[in-house]
Amino acid sequence: MTVNETNDPRIPVTVLTGFLGAGKTTLLNRILTEAHGQRIAVIENEFGEIGVDDALVINADEEVFEMNNGCICCTVRGDLIRILGSLMKRRDRFDRILIETTGLADPGPVAQTFFVDEDLRAALRLDGIITLIDAVHAGSQLDAQREALEQVAFADVLLINKADLVSAAQTDALQRRLRSINAMAQQRVVEHAVTPIGTLLDLGGFDPARVLETRPDFLEPEYPFEWAGVLRWPGERLVIDIGAGPDPALGLMAFALDDACPDLESAVAVADPRFRPDPSDTTVGPLALGTQCVCVPCPTGPSHAQRQRIALIDHQLVAGQPIAVFTQHGPDEFDLRWLDAHDRVVEPDEERRFVGTHSHDEDIGSVGLATATPLTLERINAWLGPLIRTRGQDILRIKGILNIDGDDRRWVFQGVHMLIDSAADRDWRPDEPRRSELVLIGRALDRAALERDFLACQV
């Protein structure tokens, strides 16, 4: 995993993960067919039907070894060390190596192998981890399989395959869920594993700038709601008209703006600590305005004809007075409309979308940290060292580029569990903002504590 280094002479390695039936073999065959002119060696741990004769295909059993090096979560893939070590002695070198894992594989040992073995590090670079997601079965797989969560968490690219077999709303919900696990990965929705192959190869590992191109909100703070708006109270009541959506319940909060809380920005500050939807406790209303968070039931199932109406009432509020409304997910995901007592649509005067913190069952998530103030290397090391020693089992990946005080070069930090690597990279370009950006993906990450400690590394 190195930052995009065009002059890097090492052979790129792409890891292809995904559950059984997600389409790995289909994608692998497409890569081998379309990557014309490249000599590719494939190491596969599942016996697929690879239909390209001129590729070197190596079958091997996944062999995960525990390292007795004091790192309690350090495991490596012995089969990869052996096979790749042998391949490196060939003069008819390969342009690229693809490693296809089994559906139940934990990507951690694969990634750690490239950190632990010096021979492999010298000759190969882990270009990227691609995880194929079966859009039809992903929900149940993520619910039931720890490996599925980890395959998502480790990915640089998430290919959501078979999207033609589910509704757009289901795809949206899946994308949100995947983003809540791994906010850093690029997501692509595909059918029959069809995607431009060039965009899957030469990922260049991790470059925050590339992530920010596709996800400008990546480093923004997260909130427990994804949408907020200011509406004019229509008088008598406001009706929430909800269509079928990806979840059976939707968290809501609506309260009047006043002198103490006059606008959306101040309303967000009020709602943020209070918005804690409990999907096990739903109500069909009618609801009173206030700063309590409620959950309303949503129609589920394929029939979009089903809708749910819930009334918000307030006998003291004057028509035209602004109210702030917060929803757990975007209104578009539930085809949500606001209606007055005569079924006329009430449009918001102002609305804003947020990066949602998701309270799904999984506790794996991402924390993005950024600052334009230079950091000191000593403080970064003093922070990250103990952090990975004490939390390394839970930290699946660390990636980032840091702006170190007094150094004209970018510093690249990357790690897997307790293994972390840092090195000076190229010089900052004159037109490039010198920002430090670090992403942690892991279990039960304490965003506030991480932000506090990260910012304490500033000069």
């Binding site: 190596i58 059993d61 390292m67 007795n68 090096n69 052996r82 002695k89 060939r90």
Partner: protein
């Protein structure tokens, strides 16, 4: 310290992965002069080269290619007639050492595309043991399957014969089989993978090493192993002195020699041979003299005399060295050195 003076050079196009002198001369091939090796040597390459040279006649006897990928393993049968080679495939090739003709191509793994051969070893009686993934099998020099050795739970990374027993190393420890039927006779457990293996010539000790910076020394007859630590990196090479008095280990740029006579290395200070700055790729102890040669990635090979570790001879190459092998022949000693760029050099070890 003298400089090594090669008397035979040959350049191949492959990264050379191994070199082995023929253990016994084949008379029809050799008309060497005084002080020249009468035997042949074989080299293998990362792109499948297999070649047999007669350095005493300054001649390449034959060369060909393994058609199924690179070669990582080679070994002469004890009578010097058959050469076994294997690598990035599950088939072993048994070739006539004199002509290069294929004798047999036994399938050592489960299928052509899986289970590359990870180790091979000839017994003194001429039985070839081959490991390919979890399968360990015994073959005759004619390529007939003699027995399968059961019990491997993960890939067997190395094989060594110890008298009538075959030792294998794998993830989780050592396996011991009996030589004829392949029956599993015992297991020695270790919490991790074991990659390298070397049995002392007196069959008293089994040395092993894995991914960790430690070398394990197992009493062959049983009992707790000794753990030899203090390495800066994983131990990559093991070599026993001919009289079993010492074990040489290479880790990164350091060579450490452990005194194993008597009660073994416990409580005895090992000899540390100063590092030259490059990772040691190969070690080989002379078959009778107390001379140890190490070859490193920086292109330097050094012959040291034990027990003091005094350097006797050095070879400096422009290419990274990959393997070394000694030959003792009619009172003279010869050294063969290979490189990552395809060079083979051989030459005499001066007397005195």
């Amino acid at each position: 310290m003298r400089h090594f003076e090669p008397d035979y050079r040959h350049h191949h196009s492959d990264h050379l992965t191994g070199v082995a002198w023929q253990p016994a001369c084949i008379g029809r091939q050799t008309r060497a002069g005084r002080g020249e090796p009468s035997g042949c040597l074989a080299v293998t390459g990362g792109d499948g080269l297999i070649a047999v040279h007669a350095p005493g006649r300054s001649e390449l006897l034959w060369q060909t290619r393994f058609k199924n990928g690179g070669l990582d393993h080679l070994g002469w049968s004890p009578d010097g007639r058959t050469l076994a080679i294997a690598g990035q495939h599950s088939r072993v090739e048994l070739r006539d050492g004199g002509s290069g003709e294929i004798i047999a191509r036994p399938l050592a793994g489960r299928g052509d595309r899986s289970d590359w051969v990870t180790a091979l070893a000839w017994s003194g009686a001429g039985t070839l043991a081959v490991a390919a993934g979890k399968r360990v099998s015994l073959w005759s020099a004619a390529g007939e399957l003699l027995a399968d050795c059961d019990g491997a739970a993960s890939t067997v990374n190395a094989l060594c014969w110890s008298g009538d027993r075959l030792i294998g190393s794998q993830n989780g420890g050592l396996l011991v089989w009996e030589a004829t039927g392949g029956a599993l006779k015992g297991q020695r457990r270790f919490p991790g993978p074991l990659l390298e293996l070397a049995v002392s010539p007196d069959q008293r000790w089994i040395a092993s090493a894995g991914f960790e910076p430690v070398c394990m020394l197992w009493p062959a007859e049983g009992g707790e192993p000794l753990s030899m630590a203090g390495f800066g990196a994983r131990v990559r090479s093991l070599s026993w002195a001919a009289d079993s008095s010492a074990l040489a280990t290479a880790s990164d740029a350091e060579v450490i020699v452990w005194h194993c006579s008597g009660e073994g290395p416990a409580g005895r200070k090992p000899l540390i041979i100063p590092a030259l700055g490059h990772r040691v790729e190969a070690l080989a102890w002379h078959p009778s003299e107390p001379w140890l040669v190490s070859a490193d990635q920086g292109g330097i090979a050094v012959v040291c005399a034990l027990p003091a570790g005094r350097p006797l001879m050095a070879h400096v190459d422009e290419e990274a060295l990959t393997s070394v092998a000694w030959c003792r022949d009619a009172g003279s000693s010869h050294l063969a050195i290979t490189t990552a760029e395809g060079s083979l050099v051989t030459g005499p070890m001066p007397a005195g």
